[in-house]
Symmetry: C2
Subunit: 283 residues, 2 copies
């Protein structure tokens, strides 16, 4: 796997590039990005060795597809059409069902690995790339049986060297669970930010009175809309379901307050406190 192509040299693609180079300094990392500034930045930051064009993908041993999920779903067939018979294309998107569906009958389906490394920050672009981002992180692989065994083995060796834990899941289950533990968090955070900004036009007030708790809860509201709008679109049914349950729980809490039932308010919080134990071990 000497010739590695990163399509989308942002936070995730860039962090992959850094790890892959560290594991094997002999690889050549090529970058593709629709944003020429990101490509220049990635080169200047030595995240990639060279810029590349789409047609160059035919020389790829490994392609990391790390662009917004709608773009991935649009381009994956054309990418598979272009690569050689021995190449592996791995996508890193936050939704897995659509891309698995799109590729299911492609003659090069066995050259594709659908995965979701659970890693990242609220920032984006090559400047947000982090050395060792994937260390101790989960990498969820979907429909592994549809990928050629030889390519699976090569990929797993790399992921192991990157320090990732592998988990296998079907794409339906992935999209359903991830709606709860990731997609909903982003919406709750964006809407919290919106609610506070709308109210506190005098932004100095927010700054002065907001503590680290608010900053933590609203952190994900800094995330890239270009990345997240397509995720919500592709995972619409699951995300709408999580939102309904979340809104119901909030409405119940509000009703308890309006009924002065603070004993039950206490219980609501007490029953959720064991999230502590669940989260132990997550950074």
């Amino acid at each position: 796997m000497k010739h590695i192509y990163i399509i989308g040299v942002g936070l995730i693609g860039g962090s992959f590039a850094l790890d892959l180079k560290k594991i094997n300094p002999n690889v050549i990392i090529y970058g593709l990005d629709y944003n020429p500034v990101h490509l220049d930045d990635a080169l200047a930051l030595k995240i990639i060795d060279k810029k590349a064009e789409f047609d160059d993908l035919k020389q790829a041993d490994l392609v990391i597809l790390s662009i917004p999920v709608d773009a991935s779903t649009n381009y994956i067939s054309k990418i598979l059409d272009t690569i050689s018979d021995d190449a592996l294309v791995a996508d890193v998107g936050s939704t897995k069902l659509d891309i698995c569906k799109v590729t299911t009958n492609h003659p090069k389906r066995r050259n594709f690995l659908a995965m979701h490394p659970i890693a990242g920050t609220e920032f984006s672009g090559p400047k947000a790339a982090i050395n060792g981002l994937f260390q101790n992180k989960a990498n969820i692989i979907c429909e592994v049986e549809k990928t050629a065994v030889k390519l699976q083995e090569k990929a797993l060796k790399i992921f192991d060297a990157m320090g990732m834990r592998i988990r296998y899941m079907n794409p339906e289950a992935h999209d359903k669970h991830i709606a709860y533990v990731s997609h909903l968090s982003h919406i709750s955070s964006f809407m919290l930010g919106k609610t506070v900004i709308e109210k506190e036009k005098n932004e100095r007030d927010i700054f002065d009175m907001a503590g680290s708790g608010f900053a933590s809860t609203v952190r994900l509201a800094k995330s890239s809309p270009a990345m997240w709008a397509p995720i919500f679109k592709q995972n619409k049914a699951n995300v709408v379901e999580t939102l309904e349950e979340y809104i119901n729980n909030l409405t119940h809490f509000k009703n308890l307050m309006q009924d002065d039932n603070f004993e039950e308010i206490f219980n609501e919080m007490k029953n959720t406190n064991h999230i502590k134990d669940i989260l132990n071990g997550i950074n």
Copy 2:
């Protein structure tokens, strides 16, 4: 201010004790707590020098009242009855209107300072106390004009040495703004935790798939219900208002998704992104 009494030797009271001792190693820190284990822990951790009884408060130069807000409101009159004419009692509660009301006609009102240092973590108890917790944090002081000038001056000197920024506000405005930038965050986090726990009975799934984004958003759901239920009770009207606006914003977002209006979903997020700039400078 040699004899300092900390009523409630938890995260905030304990952190005050540590700072006060550091500023002036000659002070004697006395601890009171309804929980004998906390008192023993505070002594073992050298957060306090001695345990004390309620009647000892008559020897106090400074009293830090750092217990749940309902208990503070219940005890403040009795505490003011007990202290000497030269002592200062400062409370640190997250709501300010009720305690200001309760004390307004007390003959020792000028010995009382109502304040809210915006600092803390999701943990509680003396083991959660942190050296230097208040460094660069805002301390909101309410109705400062009702506190004796001499005591104001002594208090400000201490807060300055602790590294706090002082902000003055009336208790109504404090309770209204803090509902947005603190109280609502806690509910959004608790209900997010509840929604995910209810769905994901298999907790291993949460652990494996949850990333740092979820951990950050749900962090406040680890907070103490014994501290937070009374806060929500005292600030009921403001908190219910923030919850209504938050629920409306979430419902609007859900409706946009159901209408497949992902252009507007993008805009909703884009418009909230500038929370980045607002939050710059908050840890």
